[in-house]
């Protein structure tokens, strides 16, 4: 099956097997390994990417379903060598420990702030309901998202 899509602003096309999952397409065909395969069951959120600006778990989407869509991974956030404000906030607020959940957290947070630029702490916690941090570093992750919201609205 021939597909055409845009990944991090770059048009891509190629032949894929229909059963290829989007996360494997991104990791193996595009060489973009930020999105991790964690639970592989739509639970942990480590594979979160943006599809047309909305957060999606790429382990539960076929590459063929992404045809014609715009995909953004954590590699696509930085612009001109500058980290995205959400990435900077995760660094400044120590919003990561082992780092495995981080790309998914950053993408879920980016999607959340696009929908709700001024979330309350409760809204951040509910907005990240689909992302697990097995280091349990949630407090600093929430602080990072709130800090990013402040930076981005300044």
């Amino acid at each position: 099956m021939q597909i055409e899509l845009t990944v991090n602003g770059v048009p891509r096309s190629g032949e894929v097997e229909p059963r290829l999952l989007l996360v494997h397409y991104l990791r193996e065909r595009c060489g973009l390994r930020a999105a991790n395969v964690g639970c592989d069951t739509t639970s942990c959120g480590a594979c979160t990417v943006l599809v047309n600006g909305r957060s999606v778990k790429s382990c539960t989407m076929l590459a063929v379903q992404a045809a014609g869509q715009e995909i953004t991974t954590a590699e696509g956030l930085a612009a001109g060598g500058e980290m995205h404000p959400v990435q900077q906030a995760f660094r400044q607020e120590h919003g990561l420990q082992c780092g495995f959940c981080t790309p998914g957290m950053v993408m879920a947070a980016t999607g959340l702030l696009a929908e709700n630029p001024h979330p309350t702490e409760t809204e951040v916690r509910e907005g990240l309901e689909g992302n697990f941090c097995r280091c349990t570093g949630y407090h600093n992750i929430v602080r990072a998202v709130l800090a990013a919201a402040e930076t981005m609205s300044a």
């Binding site: 999952l21 778990k57 045809a67 999607g111 309901e129």
Partner: protein, 270 residues
């Protein structure tokens, strides 16, 4: 986990999807958001030979008013239902239910039609549609038909949809009054209901108290005869025979149904 190989067909329109269904019959499964089907395919609980993708058929998505009814296209995702001003103002219970499905990422992909056609008795939307007295618009080779939510769910993960039929839309009447309640008892933040209760306008629906979403008819009748919320709720588990699993046995589920029904009849959400 990777699904077993299948042939992929992208439907260009609803009628194209029907043609494809007619061609492939029971070998085919419809794919919209894929958030029920793909996990089942990854676990080999579903091994369709052909997957017909209706996810980009524009005419199957969107929310419109038709008199006092809302008509919600089958491939409208949960996030769009939850955020819709039309849904929030006319059927706030449905907007709330859509916002309880899974987590934000799941709500960006999962669709109202997909959830209803999947017919998980523990899911939010089947229960919500039964509580609201909604119906399902189905199209097949013989033309369209409408089935009430009470009649649509035929058994555990089974509906009255035929293999050559397509669920195109959901019709939801305006909620009869401003008061409603919704209770979902879960073990983890984004889990399915161990027991769920939705109540509006004298109707009470239960999730995960049987193979299909059930009406708490004894409690509804008591309410109609003027019983208090507490007295009606005491009858919520009458006639139910819920399954037992690692989370709850039969007696505990029936206890939950009574407690959650009282809360729902007191217009609580949670």
């Amino acid at each position: 986990m990777i699904p077993a190989p299948f042939e992929y067909e992208a439907a260009q329109s609803a009628s194209h999807a029907l043609d494809l269904l007619a061609r492939y019959g029971e070998d085919a499964k419809l794919l919209a958001g894929g958030h029920s089907l793909l996990p089942m395919m990854k676990l080999r609980l579903a091994v369709p030979a052909v997957v017909i993708d209706i996810g980009r058929v524009g005419e199957l998505a969107g929310i419109q008013a038709d008199g006092d009814d809302l008509v919600i296209g089958a491939t409208t995702c949960h996030a769009d239902v939850a955020a819709s001003d039309l849904v929030r103002s006319r059927t706030p219970l449905l907007a709330y239910a859509a916002a309880q499905v899974g987590d934000p990422q799941i709500r960006h992909r999962g669709t109202i039609g997909g959830s209803l056609a999947h017919a998980d008795p523990a899911a939010d939307l089947p229960m919500a549609l039964v509580a609201l007295g909604g119906s399902l618009v189905i199209t097949g080779p013989a033309g369209p038909r409408t089935v009430s939510a009470d009649d649509f769910f035929a058994g555990f993960f089974e509906t009255s949809l035929e293999p050559d039929e397509l669920l195109t839309a959901v019709r939801v009447p305006r909620q009869p009054g401003p008061e409603w309640g919704y209770q979902k008892f879960v073990r983890r933040a984004n889990d399915w209901a161990i027991v769920g209760v939705a109540a509006a306008g004298g109707r009470i629906a239960l999730a995960n108290m049987g193979p299909v979403p059930l009406r708490a008819t004894a409690a509804e009748q008591a309410l109609a005869s003027g019983a208090s919320a507490a007295d009606a709720a005491a009858l919520a588990a009458e006639g139910t025979d819920p399954a037992e699993d690692i989370h709850a046995d039969r007696a505990y589920r029936q206890h939950l149904a009574r407690v959650l029904t009282r809360r729902a009849l007191e217009h609580q959400t949670g």
